[in-house]
Symmetry: C2
């Protein structure tokens, strides 16, 4: 296995000061601390700050008592609706530090900072030390207890400098992303916000609105649920307070896409009303339904595959696995013995049955060998 | 490992005649053939029928030359829009057989059959031999090449008798479901159609409409895609022709839920327009966004968990796994050595990085032992 992250040399020069010690802040603190970078932290909630300290995310400091002149980088990890205010305060409190934030929305933060600059609340020289950022990482759980120094590994980390940003500040934030094993990607604030509306914020809304349809369904209907429903609604379990601030903070781009989705739904609904009244051959009904699914086919095919590269066609081998300790282990040992690399893996547990269906994705030329080999070893390979 | 299905005794008395040899028909034929039940099959497409024969789903017969008097059960697995016609023909062609279909919509089929009975096209005695059904199983691939005798294992199989159905016919279809290892569930046609609208048809539409939003997104936006987008849009890859017939065939219940979803989207969109124009503190914006996500939380919590029972809270242990042959095998061997049963498993591959994040779900009291044990064995356990 790989070495722990502490063995990798890092470029970030500390001390780093963290403001906000939730999942993202504590994960950053944990990773930097392990890499040997001195980290101090504060949080509006003393209890949250203490928890972050306890998980190893950094040392607590009382505001006013931190070594202001020494701090080289300030990372702000607070909800999007208070981010700009905290950035402004931090630029004044830490006169020599590069300041970044990790909020999921960028335009609204930048707009508030510009308004402050125009009002003379902050000088252009101070604002030059700010570079926005957004690590594309998260999980359904929140808080420092769920912190994870590897949270950012291999994930895109969007860097959003403004026209007045100091190149040295951009480099410092870029180094921070690389030190946390993320892949830095530079984008303008508006491009970032439209992008995350499409790949993150609107998926959240659609999952939530879909899941809300289950509120009035009888239990007998829910008992028919399969993997499709589970996949499409998994993220509906996310935190309402955080997501409300994100959606409102990216209101324009999200509203535009919701309007387009609503128009699609309305068109289909009207066509289906016709079919409900006049029968399935009602003019336009089949066309509207087919176009809806067809366009979805095209849209989903644009999502890049594994490792962020072009989508690759893997072949899938399906195997029935008894639900008892060690069976998955036995399966993977068998796969390893056959010398086949697993490109992707999923297991679906059958409803009310003590058996799971494992789907092993492999390179196409290895699929037959894997299926035959597993079958010979006594596994129930589906279709073999 | 378990025995092959052929070792289980079956109740279904053959010969069984299959009309339609796509994924569902061929899977039924394959399972029955393996269980020793004689199966004949036909398909409007001779090529499709030949493929089903080649995968072992049954013997080909030329319509008119099948042993009509001998056939005990006829299973109709054709698209929903032609199902009723084929049922009517089958009831006449096979005067002693029980006839069932496996279409995903039931009310529209029953309505057409009643109309035929009222018009005198079919006698009540003949109609008594029909019982509708719907196995809740499927996959994104279609056709006999994807056939799978275990497709129905552990899945609900909805039985939809009509008021005139013969109890013996219901029993025969129930036996068929049990012989294929499915769990029979009895429902009225209208209840079935409303249930599948909520748990299957509307999720399909929402995934398709969400995926369509990606059509106009730049590549740089798609590169930010994470697991949330992948999960919410996976089923958007489904077959447009089949799904158009399903949606139109269940037009009323689907339209009702789409209207409710559209109203939710419209309310949120209007609130976000206000926030885009007047700022994030615009009245009602935070409340609308928060309510949307909140209701989604409640809806998703109603989906039953593993094995169709009550949702169970598993603890998750996350491990970083290098992307090379045998590593997952090594991981599962380690898990097996620790004596921990894997309740669920998922692997997410990090974007552009040769490392995957494995999430192992286990019973809560085993999580710490698993995390510590894997850590001791040299694995990079997240958060440990």
């Amino acid at each position: 296995m790989s070495e722990p992250p502490s063995s990798h040399p890092v470029s970030t020069a500390g001390p780093v000061h963290l403001i906000g010690s939730g999942l993202l802040g504590a994960s950053i603190g944990l990773a930097l601390t392990r890499a040997g970078v001195p980290v101090t932290l504060e949080d509006a909630s003393p209890a949250a700050a203490a928890l972050a300290r306890d998980v190893g995310a950094g040392d607590l400091v009382t505001p006013g008592e931190e070594g202001r002149a020494e701090v080289r980088v300030v990372v702000i990890a607070v909800p999007p609706d208070v981010t700009a205010d905290v950035v402004l305060t931090a630029l004044r409190r830490f006169p020599d530090a590069v300041v970044t934030d990790v909020a999921s929305v960028k335009t609204i933060v930048l707009r508030e900072l510009w308004e402050a600059a125009e009002a003379g609340t902050i000088s252009p020289a101070d604002l030059a030390r700010y570079v926005g950022s957004h690590p594309m990482a998260g999980r359904e759980r929140s808080g420092a207890a769920a912190a994870d120094p590897d949270l950012f590994a291999g994930r895109p980390w969007v860097l959003v400098p403004h026209p007045g940003s100091d190149p040295a500040a951009l480099l410092a934030v870029r180094n921070l992303a690389v030190d946390l094993a993320a892949t830095p990607v530079r984008m303008a604030a508006e491009d970032h916000d439209r992008a995350v509306a499409a790949v993150s914020h609107v998926p959240q809304v659609m999952a939530s609105v879909l899941a809300a349809r289950l509120l009035d369904a009888p239990e007998s209907a829910l008992a028919l649920a399969g993997q499709g429903l589970r996949d499409t609604t998994r993220i509906a379990a996310s935190d309402p307070r955080l997501w409300a601030a994100i959606l409102v903070g990216n209101a324009g781009p999200v509203a535009d896409l919701l309007a387009a989705a609503r128009d699609d739904l309305t068109r289909l609904e009207e066509a289906l009303r016709g079919a409900a009244e006049h029968g399935p051959l009602s003019p336009g009904a089949m066309a509207a339904a087919s176009t809806t699914v067809d366009r979805g086919n095209l849209g989903v095919s644009r999502i890049p595959g594994k490792h962020g590269g072009a989508r690759r066609d893997y072949a899938e081998v399906e195997v029935l696995v008894p639900d008892s300790p060690g069976e998955l282990g036995r399966l993977f040992v068998a796969v390893g013995e056959l010398g086949v690399n697993v490109e992707d893996f999923a297991i679906e547990h059958a409803s009310r049955q003590k058996v799971g269906l494992a789907t092993i994705a492999v390179l196409p030329d290895a699929a037959q060998r894997l299926a035959d080999g597993l079958h010979e070893k006594g596994w129930r390979v589906v279709g073999a």
